[in-house]
Structure formats: structure tokens, C-alpha cells
């Protein structure tokens, strides 16, 4: 079954939902494919089914997702949940699987709204059962109302590390420590006035409030920790870290890792959009114009998948991309598009004003981007260590793609999502080149594993 729509949106987070509502209002036919079973993406995961008590724990920023999901449900958009996209072509055709069947659909314009991934945080022992990404623990809280049952530590940096710590505490979890890999906290409390003058200082105020709440709950915050390691035989039993020259081992049952998020570029790479290296935050993003248009004529991108701006900005990016799609398809004039975009851009500027400063002040920790310990696993799927990568480079591997042949890194089922950035950083370090020059894995379809059964079902239709 192949169908054609004016706007095909991939991803049901804030960018995708807002784009669908806007485009539908402008008279475009809209199809939204999303891997999840409910609208909201990861940031508003479970927004339609969340338990009222859990909602209180998650607080206002999360609750805002409800109105977006509602507006989307009311719109005339066709919604296909549980649909995993595994191939996108330049002509706008999109192949996906749903309920064990493959299918294709074509968008006169395709909007990639696949959001962000957590940056990999490779430390010794991070594959042990009991170690999890902080985002993963948050998904369990949002979608299943679950919290870790034993002693929990959160390690890393960035707003989500603070947020999940605070949420777990208020949900009654036994959080025994927040281990910050930066001294960001000290810095923030020392310089509130510098930021207070800026319009988007609310981001920082939020951060300070969360830290205060965590301290009030008597959960120690250790700032500036390094050499983190997860320890255990077959399962996690402790986390070790260094601070001010001393080594500490803390008994824990769950360790949650987080050092920020990066754009999910699997689809934009697979369809050969041009990408650029964003040095302050050490990630790649697709090159996009003010409307989210990429270097591919029919493909646009909105939300964190185009560069990390946060959920509120993502929705605004989605609306701009929808306006542009409507204009390109003759539903509105250019002047009309620009007029409607004005208030959206005004709002967007408020969210974006502080980003460059924040991005520069809080880069991801270098020793977690390129793990110094040779034994640390980098590719979780194929179990390739940092030492294996360094050795292959010494033997002459030129870059990430050749490393696949040398070591199999990036060739497991996650297709490099968990190791791509780390491998590029390690290669750059070993060769004394910039990550930008070293490059990234070539991403080939299918970008998610697809079974023969799913392919066969396509042929039947």
C-alpha cells in the first residue's frame, strides 16, 4: 500500500506534533509516522496515560505536552503509531514497518522530527545490568510510573541529570548521590547576576532551583568528579569516582548516566543531507535554513534533530517548517508565510538567546567524549573497547568507516547510535586531527533492522 500526502512527518514529539497541527490548519494533508504507541516523543512520553500522582512529580514543563497532544488528536492528520521508519529516499518516499508489516508512503515534503539521543557516556562497567541511561529511567517514570527500588546514584552533567535526580527524589526513590562531572553548579551560583541580565535566564534559574531542591532533600551533590566507573560482577554493586585527589566507592543498585543530548541524525544522514560539526557541544547537525529546509530539496528537519534547542523551541521549529511546506505547495503566498512566521520567530528568539552562551560554557567532558582507559567498551553491540579503536588506528585505519572493517564497531544492531560520536572522537585524538575532519559513519538503509517477513508483507500488498 503506497499513499502520497502533502507533508509526511517522521516523529511524534513536540516538533512533529506542532508541525502536524499547523500544516493541517493550512490545508495540507498530513501523515505522521511515529515509533512510539502514543504521541509526545520522549520528552512528553506517556503524556496521555500518565498517572495523576506521577504527573505531580514530573511538574509543569512536562504537563505542557498535554495540550499539544490534544491539538494533534483534534487535527485531521493521519496518525500511525508504532511505525518504525527504516528508509527515506530523496524523492520523499518513506519505508516503514508497523505491526510486523512493511509499507511505503510518499511525502511531497518530508519533515524529519526524530529529536535527540542521549550522548553516549562510556565509562568502565557501563554495560553492567543496573547501569542505565538517565533518560531511560525517566521513560520508566513517565510511561510506567516506576522508580529504581534500591540505592540510586546519578552521574554526569546537564539539565536532564539534575531533573531526573529531583524527580526521582520527589517520587520517593532512594537517591544517594548526584555525581557531577563538571563544576557547573559552583559556577552558576557564583555568577547569578551575569545571567540574570539575559532574557532567557529562566533556564539557569530553573537549574539553581533544582539543585536547591536536591540539597534540601539531603542528597549530596559531588561536583567535579572524574574517573567514574561502574563496579560489579555480573551486576552493578558500586560506583567509583575521584574527587579532589581522593577515590571513593559508593554502594549502589542503580547508576544512571547522562552527559547531555545530541541530534539524532540517522535519517538525515541516510538520505544524504549535508551535515556540519557544532564545535561548542561537539555534535553533528544537518545544515538547515531558517525554515528547517535541508540540502535535500524535499526534506526538512525540525526540533532537536536539527540542533539542540529544547522542547519549547522544537514545537516552534515544527510550525515554521509547516508554514514553509504550505508555501512551497501553493497553499499560502510567500508574504503570508513570512507574516505568520513573525510571532513564532519572536518567541523562538527568547528560547534561543541563551543557547550559544550555555553551549560554550558547558561543553561535554572531554574524558567522557574520548575515554582514556583502554578497557572501556565503546561499541556496546560488538563489544569493542577504546583500546581496540586506538590499536586499529595505529594499524592504519583512516576513519570511522574503515574502523568498521578493522573492528566491526558500529556494525551491530544499534548501527553506531551508541558509539558513533565516541569513535570519531577517539580517532581524532589518536590521529591529532579534528573530529570534523575525521567524519562520521556512513549510514545506510535499513536504518533499523527489518525482517524478511516485513519485506514479504510489502510485496503482498
Amino acid at each position: 500500500m503506497s499513499e502520497t500526502v502533502d507533508l509526511l512527518i517522521i516523529g511524534g514529539g513536540p516538533a512533529g506534533l506542532a508541525a502536524a497541527v499547523e500544516a493541517d490548519g493550512l490545508g495540507l494533508s498530513v501523515l505522521l509516522l511515529d515509533e512510539q504507541t502514543e504521541p509526545g516523543g520522549q520528552i512528553y512520553r506517556g503524556i496521555e496515560s500518565v498517572h495523576p500522582d506521577t504527573l505531580t512529580v514530573l511538574r509543569d514543563d512536562y504537563a505542557q505536552g498535554a495540550s499539544l497532544a490534544e491539538a494533534f488528536r483534534r487535527s485531521g492528520s493521519t496518525y500511525r503509531p508504532g511505525a518504525t521508519v527504516w528508509r527515506v529516499d530523496e524523492d520523499g518516499s518513506v519505508a516503514y514497518s508497523q505491526d510486523g508489516k512493511g509499507a511505503t508512503a510518499t511525502g511531497k515534503r518530508v519533515l524529519v522530527a526524530t529529536g535527540a539521543l542521549e550522548r553516549p557516556m562510556p565509562i568502565p562497567g557501563w554495560t553492567l545490568p543496573g547501569v542505565m541511561s538517565a533518560g531511560g529511567a525517566q521513560v520508566l517514570l513517565k510511561s510506567a510510573g516506576m522508580v529504581p527500588s534500591g540505592r540510586v546514584a546519578v552521574a554526569g552533567c546537564g539539565p536532564l541529570a539534575l531533573l531526573i535526580t529531583q524527580q526521582l527524589i520527589s517520587a520517593g526513590a532512594n537517591v544517594v548521590a548526584l555525581l557531577e562531572t563538571t563544576r557547573a553548579g559552583d559556577y552558576l551560583s557564583a555568577t547569578p547576576h551575569l545571567f540574570g541580565a539575559l532574557s532567557a535566564g529562566s533556564y539557569l534559574r530553573k537549574g539553581r532551583r533544582m539543585r536547591r531542591d536536591i540539597k534540601r532533600a539531603d542528597v549530596p551533590i559531588h561536583s567535579g568528579v572524574s574517573d567514574l566507573a561502574a563496579i560489579g560482577e555480573g551486576t552493578l554493586s558500586a560506583v567509583a569516582f575521584s574527587r579532589d585527589g581522593a577515590r571513593t566507592e559508593l554502594a549502589v543498585d542503580t547508576l544512571l548516566l547522562h552527559i547531555g543530548v545530541v541530534p539524532n541524525t540517522q535519517i538525515t544522514r541516510q538520505v544524504f543531507c549535508e551535515h556540519e560539526w557544532y564545535a561548542p557541544q561537539r555534535y553533528w547537525r544537518p545544515v538547515r535554513d531558517d525554515w528547517g529546509a535541508t540540502s535535500q530539496a524535499q526534506i526538512a528537519v525540525a526540533g532537536d534533530g536539527g540542533g539542540i534547542d529544547g522542547a519549547a523551541a522544537a514545537a516552534l521549529h515544527g510550525r515554521l517548517a509547516a508554514l514553509d511546506a504550505a508555501c512551497r505547495q501553493g497553499k499560502i503566498e510567500l508574504a503570508e508565510r513570512n507574516r505568520r512566521a513573525d510571532p513564532i520567530r519572536y518567541e523562538l528568539a527568547g528560547h534561543q538567546a541563551i543557547r550559544p552562551l550555555l553551549d560554550t560554557l558547558f561543553p561535554p567532558p572531554q574524558d567522557l567524549c574520548a575515554p582514556p582507559d583502554d578497557a572501556t567498551l565503546v561499541c556496546r553491540c560488538e563489544e569493542i573497547s577504546a583500546g581496540d579503536i586506538r590499536e586499529a588506528v595505529a594499524l592504519g585505519a583512516m576513519g570511522p568507516n574503515q574502523l568498521k572493517a578493522f573492528t566491526r564497531c558500529g556494525m551491530g544492531p544499534c548501527q553506531g547510535r551508541m558509539c558513533g560520536l565516541t569513535v570519531a572522537e577517539l580517532v581524532a585524538q589518536a590521529k591529532g586531527e579534528s573530529v570534523e575532519d575525521v567524519g562520521y559513519y556512513r549510514i545506510r538503509p535499513p536504518i533499523k533492522p527489518v525482517t524478511m517477513g516485513e519485506l514479504a508483507a510489502m510485496a503482498d500488498d
Binding site: 542505565m132 510510573g145 527500588s149 544492531p413 544499534c414
Partner: protein, 98 residues
Amino acid sequence: MFRRLHDAGGQSVTIDFEGDALQVGAQETVAAALMAAGAGHSRTTPVSGAPRLPFCMMGVCFDCLVEIDGVPNKQACMETVREGMKIRRQDGKRRLDP
């Protein structure tokens, strides 16, 4: 490992994990159900046989691969539980297709 903040009430289903009957929330993903059940590990790796549990819960890491109703390589974090579902740990390498 993980615990539920509220019980599922009437909204629960029974699934089978390695022969044990588990009563779980009807909305939960298989991965969530296994985390709450204290599954210990949900797969072993093809390369070294190391135990793993779901890591990302959002379809990225593939550490949650299990066998569901006889079909291997299912991402537990992307599947919602169903009454009577049979789940087994995935040990080592599996054929890619049923």
C-alpha cells in the same frame, strides 16, 4: 531493580517470563515489565556472553533484545505487553529472521 509507584488496578495482564507468570500493567512495555520483575538480565551478548539489561528504554541501544512468542530479536522497550505473551531471554546470537 525498579518498582511501581501505584499498582495497575484492574488494568493488568499476565505474561510469562522464562516460565514464571508475571502480573504487569497493561500499558507497560515488555522492558518495563522485566525491570519491575527484577529479571537480573534480559539477554547475553553474542560476542562475550555478558549479561545485559535494557539501557536506553527508547529504541536506541538494542540491549533489550528478547524472544517474544518464539520470535527472537524483539526490542523489549518497543513492545507493549499482551495477555499471555511469552518472553524468553535471548542468549547469544540469534537468527535475524523468524
